[in-house]
């Protein structure tokens, strides 16, 4: 709780994390994991049918996957560490202490994966086809392992399950959402890879001669993988804890649009629909349509953004379910902080503020400390633009008194009565000043 406060103007820290996260998921799922099945399958097909040209397609696609995985994919992976550390140091610091060895093993697997990608790509023409395929299979296996590990950690944040009472690593790891989330992600990775390939293939003009075979293969592949994705994702929604389910509505759109909540599931059906349709058209017609090269990847980008947003939101107000709030306060320490005051242990949040300004400064400090993880001032989720605070200080105080119950996706206010009043003063002043 006592770290420097990092504020990102306008878009806020969460949006920044989301941007890095979405790019990372697209590349790491799509190119690294999904790419392993799609490309190795394509290579296998080309070898079995002795189709040199198709083999060349697989090779050229692999080059792009290799470039993306080793630059954008690897760096955004590190980037997620960098960014989340900055916005929830206590959260990541705590997760590290529980999961260090899982991450360490993930790291070893990840090194293997990168080496295998490199060998798979760089040795394409230099190895005998059989040997090369074997490298491909090793690559598939390692990339699956990276998923197996990371899903355990992600799921833990959402449903810490028995870990809360036993504090044992395995209880945290194999929690209730584990299996469905794993399958959902693997299937998503599979579809993404195909979508990337369709896009890249559109630019490989000199390889148009094998498009019948390539598109038929992609079509069949989509028709097979998309239903798996649908099934796994629905199973996942089924096991999301009650609490989370109630909030999904707010995650998808803003509070004002809650009535579209049901659309969340319909949306996923639509995404899978688009994929199946694309698959069917490609399988039957085997023609390149401009839209069919670009549409799948666009739709999937939105779907990934949505999926991650739901996951992120489902765990609000916690970083670790039931243990640690998003703003770095632990659940058990809240009554204590409310008793002694949040100012007592806060030093960094004061930086740059003039303490002599009284309530305005104290309120601002408390906002930084407790709210700025999720709120900006006037940008995305901007606090001063909230209708509920618009009437001013009095309304703000009323809000602070009760939001713990009416808005349970935010961590409860931690602080004494006079601190609460100072925050209300700060919020009221900002919200009324246009």
């Amino acid at each position: 709780m006592d770290f420097p406060v990092v504020e990102v103007p306008l878009i806020g820290g969460r949006m920044l994390i989301a941007l890095v996260g979405i790019i990372h998921v697209l590349i790491s799922h799509g190119c690294a994991v999904g790419g392993s099945f799609f490309l190795v399958l394509l290579e296998y097909k080309s070898i079995r049918e002795r189709n040199e040209r198709l083999n060349l397609v697989a090779y050229r696609l692999t080059r792009w996957f290799f470039i993306l995985t080793t630059s954008v994919g690897a760096m955004t992976g590190v980037g997620i560490w960098f960014t989340t550390n900055m916005f929830s140091p206590v959260g990541i610091g705590s997760l590290l202490r529980v999961f260090f060895w899982a991450w360490f093993v993930e790291w070893l697997v990840f090194i293997t994966e990168i080496v295998l990608v490199a060998v798979y790509y760089l040795s394409w023409r230099r190895m005998s086809p059989q040997k090369h395929l074997r490298v491909g299979i090793a690559y598939i296996l390692t990339s699956l392992q990276t998923m197996i590990i990371i899903v355990g950690i992600l799921g833990f944040q959402l449903t810490s399950g028995k870990w809360m009472s036993t504090r044992s690593f395995w209880d945290g790891f194999f929690n209730p959402t584990y299996v469905p989330q794993l399958f959902s992600r693997i299937a998503l990775a599979g579809i993404l890879a195909c979508a990337f390939c369709l896009l890249i293939y559109a630019f490989l003009r000199d390889l148009r001669d094998v498009r019948t075979q390539f598109l038929r293969f992609s079509g069949a592949y989509l028709l097979f993988v998309s239903p798996l994705y649908l099934l796994a994702t629905f199973a996942y929604y089924q096991v999301l804890p009650e609490r989370a389910q109630a909030f999904i509505s707010v995650a998808l759109v803003t509070l004002q649009l809650t009535q579209y909540a049901q659309w969340s599931k319909i949306f996923f059906v639509a995404v899978v629909g688009v994929m199946l349709l694309t698959g069917a058209v490609l399988f039957l017609k085997q023609r390149t349509y401009g839209v069919l090269s670009i549409l799948p990847i666009l739709v999937l980008t939105v779907a990934v953004a949505q999926f991650e947003r739901v996951r992120e939101f489902a765990r609000k107000p916690y970083v670790v379910d039931g243990y640690l709030y998003s703003n770095g306060f632990r659940k058990v320490e809240l009554p204590f902080i409310s008793d002694v005051g949040a100012s007592r242990y806060a030093t960094w949040a004061w930086r740059g503020l003039d303490q002599k300004k009284g309530d305005a400064a104290l309120g601002h400090m408390l906002f930084r400390l407790e709210c700025s993880t999720c709120h900006t001032y006037r940008g995305i989720n901007g606090i001063f633009r909230k209708k509920i605070l618009a009437p001013g200080e009095e309304a703000a105080l009323r809000f602070l008194n009760t939001y713990e119950f009416s808005h349970p996706y935010m961590p409860p206010f931690a602080g004494t009565q006079s601190e609460k009043e100072a925050l209300a003063y700060f919020l009221g002043e900002g919200a009324t000043k246009k």
Partner: protein, 423 residues
Amino acid sequence: MTNIPIDIPLSLPAPDGVLKALLVITFIVHILFVGLMVGGAYWSVIFKLLGKEDPFYERLAREILDTVTINKSLAVVLGVAPLLLIGLTYTGYWYTANMMTVPAFLSIIWLVIFAFLFLYAYKYTWDSLGDRAPFLHLSFGLSACAIFAFVPLIFLANINLMLLPFRWDATKGFIQALLLPNVLFRYMHFFVAVFAIIGFFAAIYFWCRGRKSDDLFYMRSQKLGLKWALGGTLLQSIFGTLNFISLPQGAYSRTLLIHIAAALALAAVACIALVRALLTTSGKPIVAAVALLGVVALLMSFVRHTVRENLLREPRMVANQRTLEYQTSLATFLKTYTPESGKLLSGEDLFKRYCTSCHARDRLLLGPSTQYMVQKYKGKKEDMAAFVLNPKKVNPDLPSMPKPPIGQYEIEEIVEYILGGSR
């Protein structure tokens, strides 16, 4: 001085010493590949420039660039473990330093992505652009090198800042962190090491590749590598010394001096081995030099570790003091604290808790007044309960009401209170 963070109240996943040893080891491997990446990129540009005169250099530039493709990816991936470990063992210090320089720190990601893409562009347009638009082609490589020149500065600023908590108050951001005493000299120390590393690598790599071939290229590049390795190692007698004397106050201790002395002696022997390697064609002196300098690297990493521990000794006392105070106060408080739970709240209390942020008795807040509710729902308690449990859009001028987090018992009490009490 109270802004040194309180420790996170969960135990470490392994003894502190084990984790720190792991940090030192994984970091050496990481920095080795960073050296190969940065040094390789610089070589591929420098020798491409020289290649106009002499095709030998052109070929060397290209072959080295091929190795960068893999080495750079490994450099990044290998960096993850030391990143996790430093977060684990120096949590408060490392996070705080990064957060103080956050724009610079986060820019590392995008900068390095661009550097990598530039390197790919440099590599894959070597034939197509190299002759047609040599300037453009070279600019890809140069851009990557420029980024590689800048990024280490960010890391070095943060590492220094992390070790000087007593300066945190006076340091406002990245630029000021750059001016901390040790940063610039350590930067030079790093870059000289990078050129020594790539020289070594080239010597070994081309020696291996050339064993079964009588192509003179391999012999010549091996010798060139050895010269860079020797030059870099010798130059460290200047830059290493500058780095050493610019260490902040409190960094020095006796173990530190002993280890440095040992490292210097070994480095001197390694230089002799390098000279021998230059004069003969046998691989043995190279192997000896590599082994010796490996040990030197290990000793130096240990020296860095000692510096960290020495500098953080006092800050840690402050942090421990704060953590202890905090934890005992919390424990004492929790002993007497009983949460209000299980208590059944009245309809009025529940209404205050769950509804008053949006509803008042007689005026419109975010949602309509309770007077309106009474008018609309008098005698229709079930309907109102159904609405509240599952709000639908009613008035197009108002936002929608979110689903409140309450169940059957609460809703009955609340509806009873609103419709009954307002009568």
